[in-house]
Structures are given as structure tokens and as C-alpha cells.
């Protein structure tokens, strides 16, 4: 699939995706690559919560909030748009969804590294099947993430394929223009 919509950012686009999560099997460093869609790259990881651990996971929201407040560029290497953290099914299941501009396979180690630093592993340790030896066995960590990835069957973008850098540049430009107009008064 092409990474760029024929009509550019101004024409909304939707893309239906086969069950496997990709159109043509193409291997990355850690397994099949998932394509870029009008909603860019992303993952949706769904796991079972160990009984009685949901509160620990929920409380971790504050920890992450604090980390980002103190160090806003903490997650910058991942080129993210959004992350969503959800507990559902009466707190028995956990969903972690991310939308970003880089192929996850390429930045797997960065993600794992940042997960560890942000204490996300405290969350993961409360999920069923998370490898206990993840500190020395990064491959097992990566495998856990990949095993629990649920590919989308449809993704939609109102401004398709636009990266967060492009959005930030456009907003900066808008600011600069309004500043310029102010100065010309």
C-alpha cells in the first residue's frame, strides 16, 4: 500500500485491512510488519489482568502523568500522536493503544526501553503471561507485546497519513504568521 493518499491530507481516507493485519507479508526485525494506514502506524495490545491487580494498574496513570509533566520530551523518540490506556470487562482486561509515525518494529527496543524507564513494566508485571525474566530477556518482552497485538481491520484518518511533526510544523507556522501580522499593525 502506498504511504501517501492520492488526494493528500485534505481528503479523509479509510483502509480495510485483512485479518492478518497486513496486505503482503514482509518481515521486520522481529516479525511481520504492519502497514501504515490513513491513521498512521499503531498498535492495540489487549491482555488479561492478573486477579486483584487492576487497582495497581489504574494508579499507575498518575505515575505516568507525573513523569511526562517533569520531562515532556520523555517519549519523543517514538514519534507518537496518542496513547490510550483502558481497563475494561470489569477491570479484568487491559488495552494499550498507540498511534504514531514510526513503524513499531523499527523502534521496538526504544519502546521497550522507554516502557521500562517509565515504569510501564510495573503495569506489565500485573498482566498474565508477562515474562518474569524480561530484564535480561528482551526478546521475550518483544514476543509478549507481539503476541498480544490485535491488528485493526479498519482504520480511518480525517487528515490521512499526516505525521505529528507535520502537524507541529503547521501549528508553529500559524503562530509565526499571527505573530508577523501583529508586528505589522
Amino acid at each position: 500500500m502506498s504511504n501517501n493518499s492520492k488526494n493528500g491530507w485534505s481528503t479523509p481516507a479509510a483502509l480495510a485491512i485483512p485479518k492478518e493485519g497486513y496486505f503482503k507479508k514482509e518481515d521486520g526485525r522481529y516479525g511481520p510488519l504492519f502497514p501504515k494506514t490513513p491513521a498512521n502506524y499503531g498498535f492495540t495490545i489487549i491482555c488479561k489482568v492478573k486477579p486483584g491487580r487492576a487497582e495497581i494498574i489504574r494508579n499507575h496513570g498518575n505515575t505516568i502523568q507525573k513523569a511526562i509533566t517533569e520531562s515532556p520530551s520523555f517519549l519523543a523518540p517514538l514519534k507518537l500522536h496518542y496513547l490510550r490506556w483502558v481497563l475494561f470487562d470489569g477491570d479484568t482486561r487491559f488495552m494499550y493503544q498507540g498511534i504514531f509515525d514510526t513503524d513499531f518494529d523499527k523502534y521496538t527496543e526504544d519502546a521497550v526501553d522507554l516502557f521500562s524507564l517509565s515504569g510501564l513494566t510495573t503495569v506489565f508485571e500485573n498482566l498474565e503471561g508477562f515474562p518474569e525474566d524480561w530484564k535480561t530477556n528482551k526478546e521475550a518482552f518483544v514476543k509478549f507485546v507481539r503476541d498480544h497485538q490485535c491488528p485493526s481491520f479498519l482504520e480511518y484518518g480525517e487528515y490521512p497519513y499526516v505525521s505529528s511533526d507535520e502537524i507541529k510544523k503547521a501549528l508553529k507556522l500559524k503562530d509565526a504568521f499571527s505573530e508577523m501580522l501583529d508586528q505589522m499593525q
Partner: protein
């Protein structure tokens, strides 16, 4: 502390050599292979001996093995299974992911490097031509007595004139930046990476996360070992010079174009961030200054050093990602092959280029990331471009040069590099070599 008496010298120190030969080896039988390893293991220079060596010490042999080679030598399947996936598959199998496409595809690679029968590489260093002849003859004689071991192909590595400074065929000064390992008594120069933990380059030691990652088994084989990613890159010197001429009218303009695609001035290595208009020899050769710069504060838009120049792609120097950067380092070894093409000579079509080994402990995290993302990911910085030198460029080469008031495009008719070889090897420690020689 690193066990210097058990580590092959290859990644830790450079012997006083100007010449080397790579012999790519196949074992016709396990026994012949083991005899060969046994005979050569005594000639392998350890880090300890080579660091202390005077010019008469000639034990500068290095030995490394492919996955097929370890299997051929008789390593059991349970142990083989503990080796990392990229090494098991081999580099050719990972070409699509690495970005080796079109003319760079493994189908076109040379030296029988993609052969299933490639089992090992022996690197012979020599101080001069006479010494090299002696080493090659000695190795050839040994092979005559052991017909079960054969040379699949050889590559001669020799420095390109002028010999006053280390450079490749395009004339770029090399070896300006190299990782420093903690505890080796060498200080990182200002602006360089903080010293790496030994486990980034040698198996069995804590890495930059402070843990010893899971090692291939048995430990006697993996401890003090490293993985090597081999790349042979042909340099089309004529195409490169045509490119400079097409994009610069005067000699000065051409040198600036050459500097823009590298990020450093060609003959001195002086960084564009520190001297964007004019070369500065003194700065280039001053190790206290030639790495002491960043992009984030000093050149955020790339007006001095373009965002897709080689050094800016391969070493992002961005504090936001620098912690991660330290986990992508490799130790580069190797040199130039093929005849020198004098400055004023037309391209004779000869095969010339560089043949390099990148040493690390995690091929996927370190070596493959550098190739697949920083060299070859067209989405890097959204410019739809690949690295001018390390990237696999299928068609015409183009590069964006940030410039006021608007950016400029450099255009060339052809790519000036082609990947013509690649393989993964395991470089064991001395005990590991002895263990391989003793397999039943």
C-alpha cells in the same frame, strides 16, 4: 573488567597494519574444520598481546564463524537454538528488512558471500606487503596439508593513497569517531558518546542497562565473544566525481557539496556545524574539538550540516534520544579494497570500495537498526531519502540541502555506492575457539 587475555584483539585495538586479507572459508568436513580452528587459534592475537605488542609481534589473525559454520563444526542443535535470530538467518535472508533492494540485492552479491557453504572468515593482518605474502603463504600451505578446508573467496584490504590520512576511495577522512568502552583507560573526547558498558560489544558483561542479557549457550563459547555484521560496499568513484561536478562549478563549490553530503569536510574531517563555510584543517585534526558539537542547539534546521548527511543520519547527537543512541553503537573495523583511482583519472570501471565489519552484541538492536533505519529508512526526517553512502540507493540519488530562503536539491544521475556483499559472523573468545576445536 574485560578479560583481555581471552578476547580476540579485533574490536579492541588496531595492530600496526596497513594491509589485511579476508579469506572466506568453507569446511568440507567437521573434523577438517576443527583441525583448522585448532591450528589457527594459537595464532589469534588476544587483546592483551596486541595492545602490548611491539612491531615484531605478528599474531594478528582473527577468526569468526557463520551460523552454518558453527553447525558444521558440530555444535549441538540445542546450543545453536540459543543464538539470536538474525545470526541464524544470515544477512541475505534479511535483505528486504535491511533495505538491500534493486542492484543492492543479495542476488548480486560477490565473493560467494551468500553461499550456504560459507562457514568462517579468517582476517590476516600485516604490517606491509612482504609480511602479507608470508602470512598468506603460510595459510595456503596449511590448507594444502588440510584439504578439507577451502577458501571460497578472498578480499585484499589495502590503504588508498595519499597515506598521510586514513580515507576511502571518495577521499573522505575516516576513523574520526569510535566508541569508547568503560574501564579501558581511554577517555571519550569532548562531544563523543559517553563510554559504553562492555556488554554493548562483548558477551557475558553488563550492558548499558546494567544487566547481563541472556547469552548463547554454552557460556564457554559465548563469553568474551561478539557478533560481526559484514558489509562490502562498492564505490563508484567516477559517478561520485561527476556528481560533485554537476552540483558545483568551482573546486571550492565541489568541496562544499562533498562536505554537505558527509557532514564533514572531505580531507580533514572538520565538522560543518563548526566550520560551515570553509574547511579548517587544524580543527579537523584536533580530537578535543572535532566531535564537540550538537545539532539541536547549534544547527537545528541543518543549514550547516544537512539533516540527511551521513554523519547526521548515523549519529543523531540529539539529547532527546541520546540515551537510546548509546544503544545503537557498533565498533567498525575494515578498510578499502580495489585499486586507487587518481584524482584526474577517468573511471576505469574497476571494482573498488570498502569492506567493513561492525562489531556488537545484539545484531538486531545495534547493527540492523543502523542499516534499516538510519541508513535506509526513507521516512527518516520525512525527506524520502536514504543515506548517501551507507544507504541502498536504487535509482538516481537526490538529497535535500537546507538553505535560506528555500531548500536546495542536489541531484545525481546515479547512486555512487552499491552494496555488494554482507554476512553475519560470530567472533568467539579464545576459550570459545578452543571449545569449537574440541567438539566431537
Amino acid at each position: 573488567m574485560l578479560e583481555l587475555e581471552d578476547i580476540q584483539h579485533y574490536l579492541l585495538t588496531r595492530p600496526h597494519a596497513t594491509i589485511a586479507q579476508y579469506n572466506f572459508i568453507t569446511f568440507r568436513s567437521a573434523e577438517a574444520g576443527r583441525n583448522w580452528v585448532n591450528a589457527l587459534s594459537d595464532l589469534v592475537g588476544t587483546a592483551k598481546t596486541v595492545m602490548a605488542a611491539n612491531e615484531t609481534d605478528m599474531r594478528w589473525v582473527s577468526l569468526a564463524f557463520t551460523f552454518n559454520g558453527l553447525r558444521k563444526l558440530g555444535l549441538d542443535e540445542d546450543s545453536l537454538a540459543t543464538f539470536p535470530e538474525p545470526f541464524k538467518q544470515g544477512m541475505a535472508a534479511r535483505a528486504q528488512m535491511l533495505g538491500d533492494t534493486g542492484p543492492n540485492h543479495p542476488d548480486n552479491w560477490e565473493d560467494k558471500i551468500t553461499s550456504e557453504d560459507l562457514h568462517a572468515v579468517v582476517i590476516l593482518f600485516a604490517r606491509d606487503k612482504a609480511e602479507r605474502e608470508r602470512c598468506i603463504k603460510q595459510h595456503d600451505e596449511y590448507l594444502k596439508k588440510n584439504p578439507g578446508v577451502e577458501i571460497l573467496s578472498s578480499l585484499l584490504i589495502e590503504a588508498v593513497p595519499p597515506l598521510e590520512y586514513v580515507h576511502e576511495h571518495f577521499g573522505y577522512r575516516d576513523r574520526i569517531t569510535t566508541p569508547v568502552i568503560e574501564g579501558m583507560g581511554i577517555e571519550a573526547t569532548p562531544g563523543s558518546h559517553a563510554p559504553s558498558k562492555p556488554g554493548e560489544f562483548f558477551l557475558g558483561y553488563p550492558d548499558d542497562e546494567g544487566v547481563i542479557p541472556m547469552q548463547p549457550q554454552p557460556e564457554i563459547l559465548s563469553k568474551n565473544g561478539s557478533f560481526l555484521g559484514y558489509r562490502k560496499i562498492r564505490e563508484h568513484v567516477g559517478a561520485f566525481r561527476d556528481f560533485l561536478k554537476a552540483n558545483g562549478k568551482t573546486h571550492e563549490e565541489q568541496e562544499l557539496v562533498a562536505a554537505k553530503i558527509m557532514g564533514r569536510w572531505r580531507k580533514t574531517g572538520a565538522p560543518l556545524v563548526l566550520c560551515p563555510e570553509k574547511d579548517d584543517r587544524e580543527l579537523g585534526f584536533d580530537n578535543m574539538r572535532n566531535n564537540n558539537f550538537d545539532y539541536e542547539k547549534m544547527d537545528p534546521h541543518g543549514y550547516a550540516c544537512p539533516v540527511t548527511s551521513h554523519i547526521r543520519r548515523m549519529n543523531v547527537r540529539d539529547t532527546k534520544v541520546s540515551r537510546i543512541m548509546n544503544r545503537r553503537l557498533i565498533i567498525r573495523r575494515g578498510g578499502t579494497y580495489g585499486p586507487y583511482l587518481p584524482d584526474d583519472a577517468p573511471d576505469d570501471g574497476a571494482n573498488r570500495g570498502i569492506a567493513v565489519f561492525g562489531g556488537c552484541t545484539n545484531l538486531a538492536r545495534q547493527f540492523e537498526f543502523l542499516i534499516s533505519v538510519w541508513a535506509n529508512d526513507p521516512e527518516f526526517m520525512e525527506l524520502n531519502e536514504r543515506d548517501p553512502f551507507a544507504g541502498s540507493i536504487d535509482g538516481p540519488f537526490e538529497m535535500t540541502i537546507p538553505k535560506r530562503p528555500i531548500k536546495k536539491k542536489l541531484k545525481g544521475l546515479n547512486a555512487f555506492t552499491t552494496v555488494t556483499g554482507g554476512a553475519y559472523f560470530f567472533l568467539p573468545g579464545i576459550k570459545g575457539l578452543k571449545y569449537l576445536a574440541s567438539l566431537k
